[in-house]
Symmetry: C2
Subunit: 605 residues, 2 copies
C-alpha cells in the first residue's frame, strides 16, 4: 500500500527535493533557476518525464483522497507550517513544469487544514530518491529494459530505482503508470510514496541527464490581455473583470475567459489537418481550406466553463478546482463549417446504427502525447438545429491561439469542456471519449460524496449546463451610490441546451420583494431550443436604507450600510437556479449555479 | 367602477340568489333541485347563458384581483361567516353549472381571509336583480335588440336589466362580455357588481324562461375510479392517492389523474372527424380510421399538470387554482399516429416559412362553442425525435373518455395542458393559440407579481416543465416504523423536455446528509432528449431518532418523534429543484417544483 501524502513532505525532505531542482524548495528559499532551460525536447523520453506526466492525473486524484484523510489521522504526525501569505506560498512552490497543478494541490491542502499540512513521524522520507549503498547501481539503459510485468517494472525517482510491479497490480490506475515503465517518474514520483519498492540506485550521470532534459512546455504561450486575471498561469486559465462582461453583448475575443488544460499548441494553418475516423473504415483528412469550402455557418453562442462561479461554492466547503469567479463565461459569434456537414461528407447518416457519440481530440497534449479529449452525443453533433460547428472565426476574425486557432469545435448550449480547441481529430463512435476530462472530471455529484466515496462511473458527463446568472455590476464588496433611492444592477443570465432566458428576478431585501429585471440584450428572432447566446439584463431596484441594514460600529462611529443583492434567472423550461450552494455542493465545484449574491456598501451621495 | 367582491355576498342577498336557482343557497339549506333538468339545449342562447359562460373567465380573473384587495379594505365592511367545515361549505354552495369554479373562488376567499369573507356595509346589494318599480319593464326581445354600442349594450340578471355600455368601454376584457349582449349574464352577473348600471326590469315570464332552459352540462360524465380524489367535480379534476403512483412504472389509466376544463364530450368514433387547417388553403379531414392508417407509434410518456403540487406552494401564500396534491402526474404508454406524419400528409414541410405554431382545439366546449385550445411550437410538432403523437391508445387500450377518447394529442416533455383531449382540429399557424389557456393561464410570474400587477402578455406560455420529484411513500403526516434504523422512502422524479433524471437526493436531517436514491424504474436505452417517462426511485435512509427530534409532551407523556424527509431530483442538464416555494411562488400556483418535504412520525416497532 502506498503511504498517504503526509509522509511526503516533512521539512527535512523538502531540502533534498529542492536539490533535485524540481518541485519544492525549502521554506524561505528563493526558487532556484531550472537547471537547463534550453535543452532539447527529444531526450525527454530517455529521462522518463513522459511517464511522469502521463501519470499525473492519476496521482492527482489519489492526492485528493489523501488530503481528505489528513484530518482524521493527526495523532501520529508532525506539523509542517505552510506560509500563510499566498504570495509567499507561491514563491515557496517552485515554478517548474506543473507548477500550477502543484500549487492547486497545496492551496487545497492549505484550505483544508487551515494552513497546517501534516507530516507523519513514522515515515523515513529522507531516504526517497537518495542513494542506498546497500542496493545495486543501474544505468538508464538498465532501467529501460524493465518495462513490463514479465521483466518487472522499474522506474526512477532522483537517484532511487523503484520496482513498481506490485503497485501497478494493486492500483486500478496502475496501467497508466506503465507509460513510465523503464524510465523516471521525476518529478511527480514523490507524490506517490512508493519508497517501499526501492530496488536500487541510478548513476549520478544519468540523474544529470534526466534533469538536463527538462524544458518549459509553456515557453511559447501567446501574449494575453493584461486585464485577464489568471487563476492559473501554467496551463493558462484566466477570466476578465466581471463588469467587462456587461459592457457588450459580444465579449471581445481578447477578453474572453481562457480555459486551457495543457500548453497552447503552435499550429501552422498551411499544414493543419483534421482527421475524421469511425465512419466506415476510411480515415478522412481535411485541410483548413477544405473545411472552409463547406457552407459558412455563423452562430452567436455563449461558452461557459463547468467551474464558473466555483469560488462561491468553495466558501461553503472547499472544492477541488481552479478558483473561478463568475466571469468564466463569454458570448461570441462563431463562424465555421457545420459539424453535421463535415460528417455527412464522410458518409455518416442520420440514426446510423451503432453510432452514439462523436469524440474530439485537440492538438494540445502532454509529452506522452495524451491529447485533450471530449465527446458529445451524435444527436447533438448531427442535429440540423443543433448548430455544432467547426469554427475558424470568432467575432469575425480568425480564432486567437488561446481560443483554438485554427479550428475549434463550438458546441452551443453545452459545457465549454466539449468545445475542443485546436481540433486534431473527430472520431465517430459507439462510446464516449475515454479521456480523463470526459470520464473522470466534469461530472456532478451528491453533496455528501467526498473523495473517499466518489465513483466517477456513476455520474453522467456534463453536457447541457443548468440555468445560471450573475450580477456583474456592482461587484461584491464595492461601494455604490443610490440614484433616487435606487441601485442599478447589471448582469448576465444564460441556460444550456438552447433554452431562452425568460425572466431575471432581483431582490435587495432577501427575497421579500423581487423585481423583474429588464432584459437589455438578447438575440431576437430565435426559434425554440436555439437560444445559444446569453441575455444581459439590468434592474433599477429600490433599496431601503433601513435601520436593519445599518451597522453602526460604536467605537469608530463609522456608519456602514450594506445591502445584499440577489439575482436568479428563469429559462424557457421554467427551470430556475437553486437558492444556495449548500445543497448543490459537489467535490469538484462544478455546476455552481445558485443565486448570485453580492454585498455592496451604500454610500451617501 | 365595479364594486369589489365583498359587496356581492351579504347574507340577505344570498337568499335571493338561491331563489333564482343557480349559484348559491342560503347557509344550512339543502341545495335545491335545478328547476328543469331535462329542458333542451337549443334555447340556452335565448336565455343568454351563452354570454354568461363566455364571460366567465374574464370575471374569474377580475375576481382574483378583488380577492387580493379584500384584506386592505376591512374597515368599512360587515362580516359574513362561511361554514368552517369544508363539507358544509360545499353543501352551502349549489351544485349548478359552474359549481366547481365558484367553489374554488369561495375556497380561495376562505383561505385568504381565514374563513371570514367580508361584505361592504355601504353597498345596497338587495336591489341586484330585484324589481325596481321606478324603472321600465322589458321583454327578452327588447333586450336582445340592445347588443351593440350604438344601441347601448343591455344584459339581464334575474329581474334586473343592465346597461353595460360604459362597463365594456372601461374594461380591457369588456369586449368578451359583448358575447352576452342582448341577453342575460345569469348566473355570473352577480360577481361583476354592476348594479350601478341598472336600467330596467325583465318581465317575470321571461325570467322563468331563462331559468327553465338550464340543464346540467355535466349530466353525461363518465364513471370514475372511486380512489380518485376530486379537487373539483364539475369540471372533473382528480388525482389518485399518492402511494398509488409508485406501485407501478405505468400508471393504470383509470387511476391516472384527470384534468378537465369543461364537460367531457360524448364522441361517436364512427363519425369522429379531425380537421387540419392552415397548410395552404385546403382543409383536411381525417376519420379515426384514416388516423389509424398512419404508422402506429408508441411512446412511454409522463403527463403532468402545470399545477401539480400547487397545494404545497399555497401554504406559503394563497394561489388561485385547483388544490392539487403531488399526484397530478402519471406515466403511460401512448400509441397513435405521429403528428409529424399527419402534417407531412397535409403538405407541411420542415422549416416552412411563416409557420411557427401548431394549434389544437378540443371537442370540449362551453355553450358558446368556445373550445378548449392550446398550441405548441412547430419545431416540437415536426421534430422527428419529438414524438408528438395523436394517441388513440393508452396502455394498450382505447383511451378512456376522461383521457380524450377517441383522439388525444400527447406532447411528451411538455405541460399537460398542451396534450389536448378529444382533438377536433389542428391549425398550422404563425401564431400561438389565442385560447384563454394559452394566453391567460399556464404561465409563470415573479413572486412579487399579484393580481393587480399581472400582465399575461409578459410571460411565455408554459411548454417544457422544470425538473421535479415527490415522495409518494410514506405520505406527509403518516406514522412509520424504521427497519434497522432505516426509513424506506419511495417517489417519482421527472423533468420536461425529454431530460433524463440522473440522480435523486434524499435527506432526513435537513440537508446535512444527502443520500443518493436508487433509481428503480427508468426507461432504458433512450437517446438523449427523449426521456419522456418519469423515473421511480427509492432510498433506504438512516434516520437518527435523536433527542433533538423527540418532542416530549410533558403533560400527557406522549412521545412523538417527527422526521422531515426531503427529496430533490437532478436532470441531465444538471438542473435541480429550487429549495423552497417562497422564491418561486406565483399567483397561479403553477411550476410548483421546490423540494418535496414530508413529515412523518417515527413509531417504535
Amino acid at each position: 500500500m502506498p503511504l498517504p501524502l503526509f509522509r511526503l513532505m516533512p521539512p527535512s525532505t523538502l531540502g533534498s527535493y529542492a536539490m533535485s531542482g524540481c518541485l519544492l524548495t525549502r521554506h524561505n528559499h528563493t526558487p532556484p533557476r531550472p537547471p537547463n532551460r534550453g535543452t532539447v525536447k527529444r531526450s525527454l523520453q530517455v529521462a522518463g518525464l513522459v511517464g511522469a506526466l502521463a501519470a499525473t492525473w492519476r496521482m492527482y486524484r489519489y492526492l485528493q483522497v489523501q488530503m481528505i484523510k489528513l484530518q482524521s489521522r493527526k495523532k501520529d504526525i508532525q506539523i509542517l507550517q505552510f506560509p500563510t501569505d499566498p504570495v509567499r506560498r507561491n514563491e515557496w512552490i517552485s515554478y517548474y513544469t506543473f507548477r500550477s497543478m502543484i500549487k492547486e494541490i497545496i492551496d487545497y491542502a492549505f484550505e483544508y487544514t487551515g494552513g497546517v499540512v501534516t507530516a507523519s513521524s513514522e515515515s523515513s522520507p529522507d531516504s526517497w530518491g537518495q542513494v542506498r549503498p546497500d542496493l545495486p547501481w543501474y544505468t538508464l539503459a538498465d532501467i529501460s529494459s524493465h518495462s513490463c510485468k514479465e521483466n518487472r517494472i522499474w522506474v526512477t525517482f532522483s537517484q532511487g530505482v523503484y520496482d513498481i510491479t506490485e503497485f501497478v497490480e494493486q492500483h486500478p490506475g496502475g496501467e497508466k503508470i506503465l507509460m513510465a515503465a523503464g524510465g523516471s517518474l521525476e518529478p511527480f514520483w514523490l507524490l506517490y510514496a512508493l519508497h517501499s519498492y526501492v530496488s536500487g540506485n541510478l548513476s549520478a550521470e544519468d540523474v544529470s541527464e534526466v534533469m538536463a532534459n527538462m524544458e518549459d512546455p509553456y515557453a511559447c504561450e501567446p501574449r494575453r490581455h493584461p486585464a485577464l486575471k489568471p487563476s492559473s498561469k501554467k496551463p493558462f486559465n484566466a477570466e476578465p473583470p466581471l463588469p467587462v462582461l456587461v459592457d457588450s453583448f459580444i465579449t471581445p475575443a481578447e477578453l474572453f475567459y481562457v480555459r486551457n488544460h495543457l500548453p497552447v499548441p503552435e499550429v501552422d494553418p498551411a499544414t493543419y489537418e483534421l482527421e475524421v475516423d469511425g465512419v466506415g473504415s476510411e480515415t478522412f483528412i481535411f485541410s483548413l481550406d477544405d473545411i472552409k469550402k463547406f457552407p459558412k455557418h455563423t452562430i452567436t453562442a455563449t461558452i461557459q466553463c463547468a467551474g464558473n462561479r466555483r469560488g462561491e461554492m468553495s466558501k461553503v466547503k472547499p472544492v477541488k478546482g481552479l478558483n473561478w469567479g463568475a466571469a468564466a463565461i463569454g458570448n461570441a459569434t462563431w463562424s465555421g463549417a457545420r459539424l453535421r456537414d463535415i460528417l455527412l461528407a464522410t458518409g455518416l447518416r442520420d440514426n446510423q446504427p451503432g453510432v452514439t457519440h462523436v469524440q474530439f481530440e485537440g492538438l494540445d497534449s502532454d509529452p506522452a502525447n495524451v491529447s485533450y479529449g471530449a465527446s458529445i452525443s451524435v444527436e447533438k453533433a448531427m442535429d440540423p438545429c443543433g448548430d455544432t460547428i467547426l469554427a475558424y472565426e470568432m467575432n469575425g476574425n480568425p480564432l486567437l491561439r488561446d481560443h483554438g486557432f485554427p479550428i475549434r469545435v463550438v458546441v452551443p448550449g453545452i459545457v465549454g469542456a466539449r468545445s475542443v480547441k485546436w481540433l486534431a481529430r473527430i472520431i465517430v463512435s459507439g462510446e464516449e471519449s475515454c479521456s480523463h476530462w470526459q470520464q473522470n472530471d466534469y461530472k456532478g455529484f451528491c453533496p455528501s460524496v467526498d473523495w473517499n466515496t466518489v465513483d466517477f462511473t456513476k455520474s453522467p458527463a456534463i453536457q447541457e449546463l443548468p440555468v445560471t446568472s450573475a450580477i456583474c455590476d456592482p461587484i461584491d464588496g464595492s461601494s455604490v451610490e443610490l440614484h433616487d433611492g435606487n441601485l442599478m444592477v447589471k448582469g448576465y443570465a444564460w441556460s444550456g441546451g438552447g433554452q431562452k432566458i425568460v425572466r431575471v428576478d432581483v431582490t435587495a431585501d432577501g427575497g421579500d420583494t423581487w423585481h423583474v429585471a429588464e432584459l437589455i440584450a438578447q438575440e431576437g428572432n430565435i426559434r425554440p431550443g436555439r437560444h445559444w447566446a446569453w441575455t444581459l439584463w439590468r434592474a433599477d431596484i429600490p433599496v431601503l436604507a433601513g435601520s436593519s441594514q445599518v451597522l453602526i460600529l460604536l467605537l469608530v462611529f463609522v456608519c456602514e450600510n450594506y445591502v445584499e443583492v440577489w439575482a436568479k434567472a428563469i429559462d424557457s423550461s421554467y427551470n430556475t437556479q437553486p437558492e444556495s450552494f449548500r445543497n448543490i455542493w459537489n467535490l469538484r465545484g462544478v455546476l455552481s449555479n445558485a443565486y448570485h449574491r453580492v454585498k455592496v456598501n451604500i454610500v451617501q451621495s
